[in-house]
C-alpha cells in the first residue's frame, strides 16, 4: 500500500510536468490548428536558461525569468517563421515547427556542452515524510506548480479579455475577426504561452537529475498526453498528462514483479501504449471534440 501511494505521487509529479507541456501543445493547436513540434526545444531551452540564471538570481526568480525569456523567443519565432505561413496547409506549418525544433535545440545544445547541467533547484532528490510516506520533495513541487499554473491559465481563459479572445478565435476565426479580435495577436499569445509553459516544465524535468543533450525526449511524452486527453481540450491535456504520468510510474514500480517477461525499462514505452489503446477506443481522446466526417 505504501509503495503504491508513493508510486502514485511520483506519477502525479511527473504527470503534472507532462500536463504543462501538453497544455502548450493544445493552446497552440487550438489557436492555429497546428501541432507545434517545437515544444521539446522550448522545454530544454527553459531548463538550460534556468541553469545559467540560477547562479546569479537564485532558482525561483531564474525560473520566472527563463519562462519569460523562452516565451519571448517563441513569440519571435512565431512572428518570423509561422505568421507568414498563415493560410498554408497545416502540414507544411507542422514540418516548419519540426525544423524550428532542430535549430533551437542545436543552439541550446551549445550551451549544455557534454556534461549534465544542474538547474540549481532547492529540492534535489531529498525526501519528505508525509503520513508515513517517504516522498521526494520535487514531486510535490511539480504538482503544486502545475496546479498553480493550471489555475491561473483557466482563470485567464475565463475572465480576461484576451483569454476570451483566444477562445473565440479557436472556435471561429472569422467571427473573432468581425468582433475586432486581432487573430495575429492570438497566434502570438498562444506561442508565447506554449513557450513559457514548456520552459517551466523543462525546469522541473531538470530538478534532481539535471539536463543533458538527450533530455528533450521527455517532451515527446506530452504527445501521448494530448492524444489521450483530446487534442483540443485544455482540461483533457491536464488529465492526459496526469494519466500518462501515473500509468508510467505504476508500470515502473510493478512491471518487474508482475510481468518480468516484458523486459527492463518497459515503463518508458507505456505512454505510447496508453496512447495506442485510447486511439483504438476513442480516436478523438477522452475530452476532445468528436469529429464528424462524412465520407
Amino acid at each position: 500500500m505504501k509503495a503504491l501511494l508513493e508510486s502514485l505521487i511520483r506519477g502525479l509529479g511527473n504527470g503534472s510536468v507532462y500536463a504543462l507541456l501538453a497544455l502548450g501543445f493544445v493552446i497552440v493547436y487550438k489557436a492555429t490548428r497546428v501541432i507545434s513540434f517545437a515544444q521539446p526545444s522550448f522545454m530544454i531551452g527553459g531548463a538550460v536558461a534556468v541553469s545559467y540564471l540560477a547562479e546569479v538570481t537564485g532558482f525561483y526568480l531564474a525560473m520566472v525569468l527563463a519562462a519569460l525569456l523562452v516565451a519571448a523567443v517563441a513569440l519571435g519565432i512565431e512572428r518570423v517563421a509561422i505568421r507568414p505561413m498563415v493560410g498554408r496547409p497545416v502540414f507544411v506549418v507542422a514540418i516548419i515547427t519540426l525544423g524550428i525544433d532542430v535549430v533551437v535545440r542545436v543552439v541550446v545544445n551549445g550551451f549544455i556542452g557534454l556534461d549534465v547541467r544542474q538547474v540549481g533547484d532547492p529540492w534535489g532528490l531529498s525526501l519528505v515524510e508525509i503520513g508515513g510516506l517517504a516522498v521526494q520533495q520535487r514531486w510535490l513541487a511539480m504538482l503544486a506548480a502545475a496546479a498553480l499554473l493550471v489555475g491561473l491559465l483557466f482563470a485567464f481563459f475565463r475572465y480576461t479579455r484576451y483569454g476570451l479572445a483566444m477562445r473565440a478565435a479557436a472556435l471561429d476565426q472569422e467571427t473573432a475577426l468581425a468582433q475586432g479580435v486581432s487573430v495575429g495577436t492570438v497566434f502570438a499569445l498562444s506561442w508565447a504561452f506554449a513557450g513559457g509553459l514548456a520552459a517551466i516544465a523543462g525546469t522541473f524535468v531538470g530538478t534532481g537529475q539535471g539536463v543533458d543533450q538527450l533530455t528533450w525526449i521527455i517532451a515527446l511524452k506530452a504527445l501521448p498526453a494530448i492524444i489521450v486527453g483530446g487534442l483540443d481540450s485544455l482540461g483533457g491535456a491536464v488529465a492526459g498528462g496526469l494519466i500518462v504520468g501515473v500509468v508510467e510510474s505504476l508500470v515502473q514500480s510493478y512491471q518487474s514483479d508482475l510481468a518480468p517477461w516484458l523486459g527492463q525499462n518497459f515503463a518508458i514505452v507505456t505512454p505510447y501504449v496508453v496512447m495506442l489503446l485510447v486511439l483504438l477506443v476513442r480516436p478523438y481522446g477522452l475530452f476532445g471534440t468528436r469529429e464528424v466526417e462524412r465520407v
Binding site: 479579455r161 477562445r167 473565440a168 472556435l171 472569422e174 467571427t175 468581425a178 468582433q179 475586432g180 486581432s182
Partner: protein, 261 residues
C-alpha cells in the same frame, strides 16, 4: 457617413464579384440593400468590414470611406475600432461559450464601456439577460440572432452592417427583429440592412439599393422602390396577381460561349 465608391472586389485573383459598386449610407439612417443570391451583397459587406482577406478576396479598385477616411486597406480590428461592426450571415455565435461571454468577446475593442454596453444590450434583449449564464449554442434561432446583433453592439458601433438578420426565422420573429432594428437605429446607430426579405427591409429603410451580378442596378428611396413595377414583381412577389403570364413576353438571353471556363 459610410460611403462606398466604385468598388471592385476580386476573389482568388480571378473572380470579379463586385464591378464598380457605389453606395452611400448617411449617418442616422437605415439603408436597405436587396438582391438575389450571388449578387454580391455579402461581399460588399465584407469589403466594408475588412473580412475579405479570410475569403481570399481583395479590393482592386475604388474605396470605402467612413466619415471621409478610407478604411478599405485596414484590418478588421481597426475597422471595428472606427465604429463599423458587421453581423455576419447565419448568426455565427460562439456556441461553446455562454451568452455573456459571447457579448464580452464583442466588447473586445471597447473594454472600458463593457458595463454600459452590457446594460444597453440587456435592455434591448431582456431574453439574453435571463439566459446570460446559459450556453449560447442552446439558444433558439431567434435568440441566437439577437445574441449576434447584441454582440456587434457591444463594440459601440456607429455603423451596423446586418447581413440577413431574418434568415431562417419565423414570420413573428422577423417582425420582432424588424422592430429591434428600428429601435437600435433610434438609439443613434446607422444601419445598413442586407435582406432577401424585401418587404421587411423596405418597410423600415429610408433608402434602398438593388444589386444584381455585382452591380447596383437600382437606387431609390424605399417608398419608390416599394411601388416600382419590377421590384414588386421580382422581390415582393406582387406583380400582376393571378394574371396568366405569356412566356413569349419573357426576355430571352442567348447563352454566350465561354471559352475560358
Amino acid at each position: 457617413m459610410l460611403e462606398v465608391r466604385n468598388l471592385e472586389v476580386v476573389y482568388d485573383d480571378v473572380m470579379l464579384v463586385l464591378r464598380g459598386v457605389s453606395l452611400r449610407v448617411p449617418a442616422g439612417s437605415i439603408v436597405a440593400l436587396l438582391g438575389a443570391n450571388g449578387a454580391g451583397k455579402t461581399t460588399l459587406l465584407r469589403a466594408i468590414s475588412g473580412l475579405l482577406g479570410v475569403h481570399d478576396g481583395e479590393v482592386t479598385k475604388g474605396s470605402v470611406t467612413v466619415d471621409g477616411e478610407p478604411v478599405h486597406h485596414l484590418r478588421p480590428a481597426q475597422i471595428v475600432r472606427r465604429g463599423v461592426s458587421q453581423v455576419m450571415e447565419g448568426r455565427r455565435i460562439l456556441g461553446e461559450l455562454t451568452v455573456e461571454e459571447n457579448l464580452r468577446v464583442g466588447a473586445h475593442t471597447a473594454p472600458r464601456d463593457l458595463a454600459a454596453n452590457l446594460d444597453r444590450v440587456y435592455g434591448l434583449f431582456p431574453l439574453l439577460k435571463e439566459r446570460r449564464k446559459g450556453i449560447a449554442g442552446y439558444l433558439s434561432g431567434g435568440e441566437q440572432q439577437m445574441l449576434a446583433v447584441g454582440r456587434a453592439l457591444m463594440a459601440g458601433p456607429r455603423f451596423l452592417l446586418l447581413d440577413e438578420p431574418s434568415l431562417g426565422l419565423a414570420p413573428a420573429l422577423v417582425g420582432q427583429i424588424r422592430d429591434l432594428v428600428v429601435e437600435i437605429n433610434a438609439q443613434g446607430t446607422t444601419v445598413l440592412l442586407v435582406e432577401q426579405n424585401a418587404t421587411m427591409a423596405l418597410s423600415i429603410a429610408a433608402h434602398g439599393y438593388v444589386m444584381e451580378t455585382g452591380k447596383v442596378v437600382m437606387d431609390k428611396p424605399a417608398a419608390d422602390l416599394l411601388s416600382d413595377e419590377d421590384i414588386r414583381e421580382f422581390y415582393l412577389g406582387l406583380g400582376a396577381e393571378g394574371a396568366a403570364r405569356s412566356f413569349r413576353a419573357v426576355k430571352h438571353y442567348r447563352r454566350r460561349k465561354r471559352w475560358l471556363s
